[in-house]
Symmetry: C2
Subunit: 348 residues, 2 copies
């Protein structure tokens, strides 16, 4: 937490200095470029090479419900193309109606997040996918062997694993399921009008969105929601000025990262999420307690920054947030064709 | 049932006569044209006009999980693009883990079926959609008012209903939900190699598929699986020569249409389904009791026609059935973008 607070404090200092430049368009762009970065064309890491075969396999696995206990839940159940990679629910519903503890963030641009899950309790996208495959809520099969057995029963997967992981003697394993899904997820980037703005097209944002951008920086939102993800890389206490659960009407109090680290300093601490596509992915916050984006903006300003925003300020910030809505990647909007094979009762 | 048996008997008589022509390619095509028809370019009925606005709305409704009790089941849950409009399950799973009584047929080409549902207990696609919207298994909301209330809470639907049903004073009603979904479903046609064959391209079928077509006609499969849908329009008793549940290993005996009509003559009577895309939509039969297409072919021949097929005959018939696999319509393969709005707890 110490590091995060330092970033928060120093960023806030920079932003106070920039307030006077809000009406000055070139200065606004220059300021924005110090705080945010446009999307890269693609993401690849040494640990997770984005080979085409791996992406193709990962896309199939992402959409395949047959990997889970009753064969009716896939990654795409909580991360639906029609709902911009989220599910529209406050808290997701897993296999056999089992409740997820928190709101499903969109899978879009998830490769940009340096913190994975609301409480940072996953090390990487690979770790997330691997744990999901073994989770009683997400998967429900008795063990990883049963999940892999499902894959082995579907003709067509074995050659795809061989092609995606040519160096492996036995490529159909849990690590490679996670590698393939993560490789696919890293391709799910959504270039948005704000990216065009950052590379110099001032007209990519409406005047209202530009005013909103200035406010977003000046009142301090960008202290946490910054960088290429416009968030996703900083922990912050939810409820700096006021208790969050009072402001949001949350029905349960979530201690956040403190339950993971057992450090009292992490009480009510969560990842400040990426705001890319936020206008398409209601409801909001870790518990999905707020349905309207304008309400979420008001609550954030009040509870985190002690600011009471005017209606025009809220409207402008929402206009800016809408400029973070990108186009769905075709490989996400369009479902892959899965190798046909039935999941019949008693196959686990 | 009397009509159906008459059709069966007369078709069988024609088919015996055609057996000698099986190796004669022009004769095979001529014979096939008497039994089957190629897909039309589009389907439209006087009752269900396929206006673009109606189709667009129906597509959104089809993919929208927020119409159901917990906001996590849509039409696309049991009719998934990645699984060719079916779900890969023996019997589908509805809201809150409630079991469906029978296997989900693919939604693709469902506009061709003159019999709706396995037992013909729906009058039309509109009736099916309307009853699904009110079903405790499919929807789960307490009444139709609650389902319509969900729609009214999602901004963006009201103008779409106005545009799709310009003559209606209050267009957001259950009939129009059903009309829109059905209009969309009628667009889900999948032209296949066999359609190209029927309009004169003999090479659209492999030699094995052509042999399979000849067998399919000659042994009598096409007595029920004929017409433009290659089935979907005739009732037939499942188990003419042997009990079906013994042959399939079914765990429950389903009385079929007799439970609908209360007519003992309808005992074990079901719709002979369309075989379009059958190779992509395992498992098979009303109870999804058989996983492999080759097994389904063997069982059908034995139980319905008293024929024991050789392995080459089965392989050829499967090759013919694979020629019924069409291309997914882009408006089905690709998800629509839904108007964002959260379904939060307690909204029904």
């Amino acid at each position: 937490m110490a590091d995060t607070r330092l970033i928060f404090a120093s960023a806030a200092a920079v932003l106070v200095a920039s307030a006077a430049m809000a009406a000055d368009e070139p200065a606004l762009l220059a300021e924005a470029r110090q705080v945010f970065q446009p999307l890269p064309k693609q993401l690849s890491t040494a640990e997770a090479t984005l080979g085409n075969e791996r992406i193709k396999l990962g896309r199939m696995l992402f959409f395949d419900p047959r990997l889970t206990v009753d064969g009716n839940v896939s990654c795409a159940t909580c991360h639906q193309p029609a709902l911009y990679g989220a599910d529209g629910l406050s808290k997701s519903i897993g296999v056999q109606q089992r409740p997820h503890p928190r709101n499903a963030p969109t899978v879009l641009n998830s490769g940009l997040n340096t913190i994975v899950h609301w409480r940072g309790d996953r090390d990487s996208l690979e770790d997330q996918a691997s744990k999901a495959l073994q989770s009683p809520i997400t998967n429900g099969l008795p063990d990883i062997a049963a999940a892999l057995d499902r894959l082995k029963r579907i003709p067509g997967y074995a050659p795809l694993f061989n092609a995606a992981f040519p160096g492996d003697a036995a490529p159909l394993n849990v690590g490679n399921v996670a590698n393939a899904i993560s490789a696919y997820e890293r391709t799910l980037l959504t270039p948005a009008p704000f990216d065009a703005y950052l590379v110099g097209d001032a007209d990519a944002l409406s005047p209202s969105a530009r005013r909103g951008l200035a406010s977003f920086i000046n009142i301090g939102c960008s202290a946490c929601h910054n960088g290429v993800g416009i968030g996703g890389s900083i922990y912050q206490k939810f409820g700096i000025v006021e208790d969050y659960w009072t402001a949001t009407g949350s029905q349960t109090i979530d201690k956040g990262r403190a339950d993971v680290t057992k450090d009292p300093a992490d009480l009510y601490v969560f990842r400040a999420p990426s705001l890319r596509n936020v206008a398409m992915t209601a409801p909001y916050f870790h518990d999905g307690s707020v349905s309207m984006l304008s309400d979420a903006v008001r609550i954030m300003a009040r509870v985190q920054l002690g600011s009471k925003l005017s209606d025009p300020e809220v409207n402008d910030i929402v206009a800016f947030l809408e400029s973070l809505t990108g186009e769905l990647p075709p490989a996400f909007a369009t479902a892959p064709i899965l190798t046909p094979a039935a999941v019949t009762a008693g196959q686990h």
